[in-house]
Amino acid sequence: MRDLLQATIAIIIVCALLFVAVNQMESSGSSGSKDSLTIYNWGEYIDPELIGKFEEETGIKVTYETFDSNEAMMTKIEQGGSAYDVAVPSEYTIESMKEKDLLIPIDHALVPNLQYIHEDFLDLAFDKGNEYSIPYFWGTVGIVYNPNLIADHLTFESWEDLWDPSLKEKVFLVDSSREVIGMGLNSIRQSLNVKDDVLLREATDKLISLTPNIKAVIGDEITPLMVNNEAAVALTWSGQAADMLWENEELDFATPYEGSNIFFDNMIIPKTSKNVEGAHKFINFMLDPENAAQNADYVGYSSPNFAAWELMDEEVIGDERFYPSNEQRDTLEVYENLGLEWLGKYNEYFLEFKMSLK
């Protein structure tokens, strides 16, 4: 009995000590102000130094939380229970969040730094007039490849290169219907947002003819496979590709000229926000060219902030693989909200393609 009691007391004392330590650490950083802000962002999607800088500049204490998918984030916000002030979803999620009335309109007067965002990234179809969202990072869908593992003549400037017979069982695809069907549509030079059964049929048939070259349709596991030289070619997002290139310099990335998808992650203010003014301050802070440049340097995704481009390394900004030229940007397309019916059809065609793999 004595040892049970001793153990109980020991546990309670340890907990109390840890609790004091946590409180100490959490209150150090903030200069005693009650003003606080909760940011909900993707994992590893901000330079932690910037949070400290923001706290110092404004006296607002930041609580920073992370999520790993648009869907998970939306569920948390929809359920309430947690007061997020700023979140960073992708464009298609912003559309459905708008439909579900989860967003607070952004007061443009409070974000003067919006002037530094390149016009190409403003006023897009998913949020006309940037009423609810402000650009954070953007990227494209393309092909990351390892030149050492494939034939020399393949540069992936065209989607057709994927169909090259020398790539037998060497191609990895991300397990995502919009990306893969979109690739099929792009390769027959159609829009990523077509709502036409004949064209979708044609794209799917084209994809099915690719099956001999496909090794697997998988998710984030592609990154370690590519980095460790275990995979030769993969369809993926430019941000993920930038990570791979950072870790394995032999890799290369290309966005084919026929066109591809361009995606945007944008800052929004959810209905759960308890500090709307602070949220605007944070958004404006992230748009400051110096901060945007520092963040882009740290995260590796492409910044939409043209004033930040001037502060960044020439080599990064000049890299057309991640900052495509204007002509190439014209070939890129944003996903539109297809509506449930057509989304279902895309998924069906994708399923049919996946079933043809064996």
Binding site: M1, A7, I11, C15, W42, E65, Q79, G81, D220, N248
Partner: protein, 266 residues
């Protein structure tokens, strides 16, 4: 003790290699200056320094430990009393029903438990955070503690209790001086099981974290999207080292108290 044959020895080594190799591999690379898990370049402490510099990560680590210890403690108290209650039931049918209900909770998937808790908490208006995580960790640990304590209770000879009663012990005395000391190994085992369950639970915790409160498993999961950095290796190494120390400490305390009791008997 009988000597092990060569085959069983080899088998034992094989099992332990499978169990420990991934952990050792992970810890080995936490000292790599190369920044990736591809090739070992040279020895460095920088990833450990990065963990200690990131005060957010440290707070999350401490929170994880607090939740694990507290939920383990509470679940052990509830679970032990529950097990005693179940065993003392005279009605066989009732007893079996309660045990089955307990087992259903053990086998039901974490996602289901997590989602149910999220719905419950938002329905009754509990703010997600420390309290919600603690409550749900207690909840999924209680059935495990019951299961760990139960065998000890069942193997206990009931004449011990009868003897205590005959010698004039009250109900309270019986519980505190006979039953609890006898089943204390089961209680400790239950506590440690609850502790580990709480430390590594992702699915339930994922649903009920919020308002800036997070645990290590949830945090590492969202970090992993951008590829596991060696900081994750370093923090895993730290957790492993602390666990090892606790186990070693527990072993020595046990040994000392055992030798103390045997000496006292002499």
């Amino acid at each position: 003790m009988k000597k092990l044959s060569a085959a069983s020895k080899a088998y034992l080594v094989f099992v332990f290699v499978i169990l420990y190799a991934p952990i050792l591999y992970l810890i080995f690379y936490s000292f790599n200056s190369g920044g990736t898990m591809n090739s070992f370049e040279s020895f460095t402490w920088e990833h450990y320094a990065a963990v200690f510099e990131d005060s957010r990560l440290i707070v999350i680590l401490l929170n994880t430990v607090i939740v694990a210890l507290l939920s383990g403690l509470i679940a052990t108290i509830i679970g032990t009393l529950g097990a005693i209650g179940i065993v003392s039931l005279k009605d066989k049918k009732m007893r079996n029903t309660l045990l089955s209900l307990n087992n259903i909770l053990i086998v039901s998937p974490d996602v289901v438990i997590g989602a149910s808790f999220l719905i419950l908490f938002t329905m009754i208006g509990v703010k997600l955070g420390f309290a919600s995580v603690l409550v749900s960790h207690v909840a999924f640990s209680v059935p495990i503690v019951v299961l760990m304590v139960l065998p000890k209770l069942l193997e206990m000879n009931t004449s011990l209790i009868d003897a205590a009663r005959d010698l004039g012990a009250t109900k309270r005395d019986v519980l505190l001086r006979v039953i609890l000391p006898y089943i204390s190994p089961g209680i400790f085992a239950g506590f440690f099981m609850a502790l580990t369950y709480s430390l590594d639970d992702f699915a339930v915790t994922f649903f009920v974290t919020g308002n800036g409160f997070s645990t290590l498993s949830v945090e590492i999961y969202s970090m992993a999207r951008a590829g596991i950095s060696l900081t994750v290796n370093a923090i895993s190494g730290l957790v492993f080292a602390v666990t090892l120390l606790i186990v070693i400490g527990y072993y020595f305390i046990n040994k000392r108290s055992k030798s103390a009791t045997t000496e006292g008997q002499r």
